[in-house]
Assembly symmetry: C2
Homo-oligomer: 342 residues x 2
DNA sequence: AGTGCAAATGTTACCGGTAACATGTTAGCG
DNA sequence: CGCTAACATGTTACCGGTAACATTTGCACT
């Protein structure tokens, strides 16, 4: 492949002059410039980004390390990150960890080797070891959607506690008192904060917390089936379920139907995060949504700041608001039509 | 940041010896190795991937250039690509063109500069200029989902003609004769092939082709509204619509509902590609699906072959089968219950 | 003892771009 | 006319890793 020196030879100048023409990084006589430009065109010279990166110590590459690229929430985050990064001349490597800390660690190691300029990370566990690794290597990092215990870092996340509170209170307002919750993994902050909101809402209405009503699963569709079975066996049987994310909610809906229960007539079901294309044609699920695209944008902007700034200012925590969208699955319609539910 | 030479100094050996320890690329005495490994651990040495890439002329990076990362079809393709690439030690840069040839060209230029090892591309136009650019720079490239006229290249795609044929014939089998189609952009092969299948199915049943029934839009939700309006104004009004992809179909469904028409009672609607999470809770749309994940896997595997092989064998065309999933939106249930439809 | 060979380690140079410094040239000004 | 300043261009070295080649050491075998 053609190099600066090839171009230089063809144009009868030195390599640095070619570099100056390409980057407008120094004075070049108009006639010389023209000759160089002709040589570049003739030889179809394309500068080698790696050589440039090696010398300049920046790669103009970010990584987005997320837990499930199949989940529309993350897709939308990715879109926000990609757009914001591209607008500033950065590229994004998307890495999918499937909530597996080992996979996550692997990716981090490779990304450090690649000397990416920074990283947006949805941590899959509370273990701080790999985060220490990042700070040791001076790699700017912004956490997204989740924090890690005992480690002060930049983070952009939704207001999970408020969301959990809002969903639960809404159900209480519809007359429910036996409200169960399908939580995500205990050690993921998103889950514990949402659970907190749930607890606080119950407490605020003097409803005692039933340990039987709190179940832990993964954030995937698959784990719901077992949980639904257990919840239906609880006594008294819950009249409403809060699912901790969109995929678990879908799983729950299927599982409930398989058990012969209608939603919302027999049991109400609400959840966090939407599935935009689904609700567009079938506005059924009552959900608490976050602006995922904005979350991606904010995280990227914060990361860029951090890259420019490195260890300067204190780590920031940006908390984005959540919105409750009331549709059918909570049974609000039923209540409206028939007075108090149950 | 620590380099081989720093480690070498600390261990009292030469740089190349460190390199040999790290890569097991030459004989090293056990005692020396131990000393070097200790130095690596003490200094927390991490090899610089860029320097390695510069020397070895490979980046272990692929790019996936697609047209809409919000579309679940492409997300699933991305997942297939990512998994397959990661399994072989490659990383993927995902680039989103929004069907904009200018954006696509930009990305290609930057990717050539980065000297990525290869590229999987869903071309946004029939223009071959940028593809010539790729071959000129000797960049292995596999087209995905779409081909480009008059350019022999590796490609992995679905059997669009067959799919278009199957959807149309299914509607004909249900008694429809006035079948309209919402096509994608004329110059995208995916669209023209599907349209071809539609035409062939009509011809096979001696149904004349009505130019009024063929409309062209983008592959996005937004373009459907206008098209639906136009189709409803045609005379006779079509009794069924074939949408060319999942998002257009959603748009059409909304537009039809807005016009006060029920699907499938008043008009049937079928489409290409599913929205998995939507149909999981609401199995409504009759669709012709492709295995997107497999498409991504195959494309990556083919690309890897091509990277290993460069200009060796002839370009391959891999055509994946499509499957018709009959659900409600085509009106099959109605027909079953009530005899011939309309 | 002499020869041959493998293992162990080192030296040099290069991948491609560019910062830092050096040199040559021209124009402006007293 | 001589001096300075700004412009134009070039030389050298470095970013960090490693291929190619060179050197040294130790051992087996004749």
């Amino acid at each position: 492949m053609v190099t600066v020196r090839d171009v230089a030879r063809a144009a009868g100048v030195s390599a640095i002059t070619v570099s100056r023409v390409v980057n407008a990084s120094g004075p070049v006589n108009a006639i010389t410039r023209e000759r160089v430009e002709k040589a570049i065109a003739d030889l179809r010279y394309v500068p080698n980004g790696m050589a440039k990166s090696l010398k300049s110590r920046q790669t103009h590459t970010l990584a987005l390390v997320l837990t499930d690229i199949t989940n529309p929430f993350w897709t939308t985050v990715a879109r926000g990150v990609e757009d914001t990064a591209a607008a500033r001349g950065y590229h994004v490597i998307v890495c999918n960890t499937d909530e597996d800390p080992q996979k996550e660690l692997n990716y981090i190691n490779i990304l450090v080797q690649r000397r990416i300029d920074g990283m947006i990370l949805a941590p899959s566990s509370n273990n701080t070891e790999r985060l220490d690794l990042l700070s040791r290597y001076d790699m700017p990092c912004v956490l997204i959607d989740r924090h890690v215990k005992g480690k002060k870092m930049d983070i952009v996340r939704g207001d999970n506690a408020k969301g959990g509170f809002a969903l639960t209170r809404h159900l209480i307002g519809l007359g429910h008192r036996d409200i169960a919750i399908m939580s995500g993994p205990v050690e993921v902050s998103t889950a514990s904060q949402r659970l907190d909101g749930y607890r606080r809402a119950l407490a605020a209405h003097d409803i005692p917390i039933q340990p039987d009503y709190i179940k832990y699963g993964t954030f995937k569709e698959g784990s719901s089936e077992q949980i639904v079975k257990e919840l239906l066996a609880a006594s008294p049987r819950p009249t409403a379920i809060v699912a901790m994310n969109n995929l678990m909610c879908i799983g729950a809906l299927r599982a409930l139907r398989a058990e012969g229960l209608r939603v919302p007539e027999d049991i109400a079901l609400v959840s966090f995060d939407d599935i935009p294309q689904a609700s567009s044609i079938y506005p059924f699920l009552t959900v608490c949504v976050q602006d995922a695209q904005k979350m991606g944008q904010m995280a990227t902007a914060l990361l860029m700041e951090r890259i420019a700034d490195k260890a300067a200012s204190e780590p920031q925590e940006i908390v984005l608001d959540t919105t409750l969208i009331v549709r059918e699955s909570c049974g609000a319609q039923l209540v409206k039509n028939a007075g108090i539910h149950r």
